[in-house]
């Protein structure tokens, strides 16, 4: 049986097709302003027996492709369980939100936290800050890794943090150090969210922001333990959805 999962996020969308439990196809695209057209072209030429949609665009997909939906929480929890069976906590930082999921020993969701309404401390935040500093988002993490821990960004609000960054630049601070401080502020926010769900270790870190090496590095420093990042952090949602599609009654 071929089972597919599609994860339509705020910034990117991914499709995973599983055949006999193995990934037979994986595709990714930017969500853009016409997500439905984008999703249709992403799915073009693929075939499946079952499809399950997740992410912000799940309802859109459900209508267009007549499939069921699940939330990102469930999809990430399932994907994490498969990729890192002993995971007890999942951190997913995507384009516009940050989610923390605490799992039971059997992989079921025990509790979760998610930012309420603004994109503070998410991929969007890092993207805007990188642009303010004149860095490409793809190597923002590397620049931050090279920076020193000498500055502190106090505000989590994108708008306020941006003005903090502007004043640090005008004070002559090094862009690398500022980048480092920005990463630290995102990490501290994630850590406090992790503590709220009763962080008990075995962290699996996914979502687009998990591709940023500095994020992983700083998380490990602040949590004082190793953090597992999968090979394709952005496809965990689609992968989890595909696995769940297979397990549907």
């Amino acid at each position: 049986m071929r089972c597919a999962g599609i994860d339509i996020g705020s910034r990117s969308m991914e499709v995973v097709v599983l055949e006999e439990g193995e990934v037979a196809a994986f595709r990714q695209a930017e969500t853009g302003s016409a997500p439905l057209e984008q999703a249709a072209s992403l799915l073009e030429g693929l075939s499946w027996d079952r499809l399950l949609a997740t992410g912000y665009g799940r309802e859109l997909a459900a209508h267009a492709f007549s499939c069921s939906t699940i939330t990102e929480i469930k999809a990430y929890a399932r994907g994490a369980r498969e990729l890192y069976p002993s995971a007890l906590t999942v951190l997913d930082i995507g384009g516009q939100d940050c989610k923390v999921i605490s799992l039971r020993e059997n992989g079921r969701v025990k509790k979760f936290e998610m930012n309420d309404r603004c994109a503070a401390g998410t991929g969007k935040f890092l993207e805007i800050m990188a642009a303010t500093l004149g860095f490409d988002i793809e190597n923002f993490g590397e620049r931050a890794l090279a920076g020193r821990d000498v500055l502190k960004i106090n505000s989590m609000c994108t708008v306020f943090a941006e003005s903090e960054v502007v004043s640090l630049i005008s004070r002559g601070e090094s862009p690398g150090d500022i980048a480092r401080a920005l990463h630290t502020s995102v990490v501290l926010r994630a850590v406090s969210m992790l503590r709220r769900v009763g962080f008990s270790g075995k962290l699996f870190f996914a979502g687009g922001v998990a591709r940023n090496r500095c994020m992983k590095h700083l998380l490990e420093i602040h949590l004082q333990e190793e953090v597992a990042v999968p090979e394709h952090p952005q496809r965990v949602g689609a992968y989890g959805a595909a696995l769940l599609a297979r397990e549907e009654p």
């Binding site: 939330t71 990102e72 929480i73 079921r108 979760f112 998610m114 930012n115 309420d116």
Partner: protein, 426 residues
Amino acid sequence: MSQEYRKMWEDLNLNLDAHDALLGVLGKVYGDIYMTQKERPGGMDYFNFVMTEIHGLRIKELLEEKKQGRKIIGSYCVFVPEELVLAAGATLIGLCSGADFATEAVEQMLPRNTCALIKSSFGFKLGKACPYLEAADMVVGENTCDGKKKAYESLKTLVNNLYVMDLPQMKTPQGRELLKSEFLRFKEALETFTGKPITPANLKQGILTVNAKRRALHRLSSLRRANPAPISGLDALLANQVFFYDNPARFTKSVNALCDELEERIREKKGVASEKTPRILVSGCPMAVPNWKLPWIVETSGAVIVGEESCVGERGTRELTEESGNSLEELMEALVDRYFRIDCAIFTPNQDREDHIREMAKAYKADGIIHYGLQFCQPYTVEAIPLEKVFEKEDLPFLRVETDYSMEDVGQLKTRIEAFVEQLRQ
């Protein structure tokens, strides 16, 4: 909309354009949220009618009452004793506070980080869009939370008939004394205002009338213990909301008629959702008309709400007033006893509320609890944190939501609530 109503609204000095816009939105939202529900009981037709006439026929009735010399008393809180108002030959109505209105003007009078309910009450005044407020001969404010208490100082500059009642914050003998003296002061104020003395006979009648409508809601609540749920949480909430507006006798009759039908449904094992649907208890801040945001999200996410631990719900109506007294003294004591039992979060400590949530979760066989906190409502949002810890320890999943009346967070809320429902299903 009939010309008659327009004339009525004009006479009440409403801003007709703004009011038209409000009714337009209200009608659309009601249609989208309520009329699309499946398997609604026929008894909800009455409540549909009440909603379409909420600023029409009901206002007309109140104006008729005024013509007969009856006073209209408006309130924002379940601590204002309707029994006394009825005894004094007046009518009590809940005032509009469930939608954002004239926000810009409001924020010139109140800080931005004031809860949506308080802001809304100002918005309806500043935007001249609440016919109940304009028809009220007296508006009763009450010192519950700091936000309301201080806001009444500013509201006083907008309404010329504001009466403020003080309330205790601790359930001590001294606290009870304060409530008693405030109820006696309110009784005298009502008597002076209406010119009608409150007697043992009319107070007893007031108690019987209000208890009757509470009993009707108790009956409705107890029917919601059934699985499958015979009525949606949205519809049950609506009945609890209409409690504050409607003529008491007619309300009682309509809720009882609805209950007759629900009993029939339960016998036939018919419901609004399948037996496997996760059952949710909503607990927290009041939801005034037309604030249906949270229950709408919950019930379109595959769950059914089986109880409201809220002022617009069981916190407001759980307790009956003892009816057996014959002297004024006995009846006033009974009234004080009854209202002093309300487990509002302005009280400290407030163990009763935790116990009631536990009792309700058990009685209604709830699979999980969603705590509804209005952003910036300190009493409830502060209580929510220890409550979450307590219930999670007891293995009752608990989701803490903080929101307001705006729609900007609906996407995120929907994801959180759907994920919570998935968690209950697993």
